[in-house]
Symmetry: C2
Subunit: 156 residues, 2 copies
């Protein structure tokens, strides 16, 4: 059972900017992570959700989704995993007038290959897709990210 | 003469997250904006510059560069301009172990067309390129963004 609040606490302790995003991980089903954050600390000059906050939250969601999948691949206590962002793209579809909800998941068919490579080679890349929606489920931003995971007991 | 400190104060007052990035606009020559931010409030779990902070700062640099060019196109006091991000891409080239310096500029040959369109139609898009470097000038992240500017006295 993954403790998402403990992961969020760990993230906030290690990455100071994330405390100001006021995010919360709300669910992870082994493949798909959801995250929410309120408008109030993340608004822009037009009163809508700041594109820079969306970019930071989507980057974080992709990182957390990759980290959780990497942790499950290497097994708890087996090795720690470092995950870094390699590249990302965002398309802002509509202004967001309220809180954000983000869903992030591994690109089609990549999770099996990612698990196998990470276990065998100690490092593997993972393509992440994500969508940001408003409270009505309207997609306001689409995201594609590439992340690299590496186990700490392996220097290849 | 553009007062970059006044612009930064306006940004921080309107966009609360930006106060936590601790950024400073350092120069604008009419086409190219530079911005700096320290590592301390922007580090990640590995002690390097958080990718989410880089994404937020690059988004902000592109927005500010577009806003400054739009302001000069419509003329001071003529009309206010709203600028929004449409899409962006980032490539993280290397970990950043210190403070960040960002240079943002209009994509080749786009500034003339942007000025003309914004004056004639009241709205225009602008492609922005940016690079984030370390203190030695090594490029750690490359950025491409598309922004849409719209004058407030025009509803087309």
């Amino acid at each position: 059972m993954i403790d998402l609040d403990a992961l969020a606490t760990r993230v906030c302790a290690a990455i100071p900017l994330t405390t100001h995003l006021d995010f919360r991980f709300t669910a992870f089903d082994g493949e798909r992570l959801t995250l929410t954050a309120p408008l109030a600390p993340n608004h822009n000059d037009k009163g809508t959700f700041f594109a820079g906050s969306q970019a930071a939250l989507l980057t974080l969601a992709g990182w957390a989704c990759t980290t959780l999948m990497a942790d499950s691949a290497v097994g708890e206590g087996e090795a720690s995993v470092d995950v870094v962002a390699v590249e990302s793209s965002l398309q802002f579809r509509a202004p967001l007038h309220g809180d954000i909800e983000i869903r992030a998941w591994a690109d089609d068919g990549e999770s099996g290959r990612f698990h196998q490579r990470l276990k065998r080679r100690g490092k593997a890349s993972l393509g992440i897709l994500a969508q940001a929606t408003d409270a009505q489920g309207v997609v306001v931003c689409e995201y594609q990210g590439l992340y690299l995971a590496r186990t700490n007991n392996n220097d290849t």
